[in-house]
Symmetry: D2
Subunit: 114 residues, 4 copies
DNA sequence: TTTT
DNA sequence: TTTT
């Protein structure tokens, strides 16, 4: 888990309530979407915004923190690594997804942003 | 282009010769796949390796540097941001891709790693 | 200004009001101290905190943003690079200082954290 | 050890052989200086270089890796955190130093850069 | 010198 | 004190 070789950091707002899955092993997995917003002025000097949506996955203890503290609209910081995987959807079509596997999730702008 | 809000860094090896596209505007776009390798020992103490593949896109001047210096097998460092977009493939299926839009590409382990 | 070769990121609280210097050239320089706090449990299971203090320097436009928005106690994110320099103090003793030269300063936990 | 709150990354060349200290506890500490070089053209279009020197400290297992593999002139990548501390020098003058406490040290441009 |  |  080298942070030199594969490192992602995002600061943004949570799109929806995280989904929590309890694995048979007793481990938890949390998954949520995160919007990163950039504000800039376009050619005409008008204020514009771009939003990028990211899928964040958290395992184990980080999933538990997610379940407790991360909610829709909250501002969070995430560090982790980029992982890609493929699966077959219900129509038998091979799909590729890229997710951010979180090492750390930090609540920002809150009293308990510890 | 906030590096606090959306920042990716990768160090790895280039999978294939980059593809270069010359846009009508005269601008260049370079695209290549990058493998990040992690080495670790598994439960049984055996040396194991995980490889993650990433798609890197470079525009303008960074594309030109890519065209000149980046080649199959080379060790490179990349920083940039995560961008997701969708398109329809030839069968009319909506596809989602996540790419790293490079700000900077650094050649490592070379005499011209400037 | 390679973010691969020399990159620092901090999220913390501002210790004091920034000092602003107006250079003869008309350019501004802002300087402030930033505390990064880590919370953990010690050997005895007691909650403990470590604080590291950093000196952040901002030039030009980033200095102007600092002057307007950064104040004592505020939570801010900073990215930039590590710079070291030496000077002689009033007693003629050579001093070395390490500062973070900010590329970007982001206000966190605020409505205008854009 | 939050990489969101306090994170440094450097890629550069080692200035001298690392110094290794064996603590009474049996733990090792390694310390070395690292040069990060930036190349750019100045106002007159001449190629110029700036070098920043950093002090890297590694503890425990990372110190052992440093002892084995890190040597003068080698190209290495380092991630870690910024730590400042003070001490009294031999003349009783209080000195402040800022060091990078390494989490990870990666040998670049070598066959064993794993 | 901040914050929790 | 490194490197290109």
């Amino acid at each position: 888990m080298s942070t030199l070789k594969n490192h992602v950091q995002l600061i943004g707002n949570v799109g929806q309530e995280p989904t929590i899955t309890n694995l048979e092993s007793g481990k938890k997995v949390a998954r949520f979407s995160l919007a990163t917003n950039e504000y800039y002025k376009n050619d005409k000097g008008e204020k514009t915004q771009t939003t990028d949506w990211h899928t964040v996955v958290a395992w184990g203890k980080t999933a538990e923190i997610t379940e407790k503290y991360v909610g829709k609209g909250k501002e969070v910081g995430v560090t982790g690594k980029l992982k890609s995987r493929s699966y077959e959807d219900n129509d038998g079509i091979k799909r590729y997804v890229t997710e951010i596997e979180a090492n750390e999730i930090l609540l920002l702008g809150t009293k308990n942003g510890k």
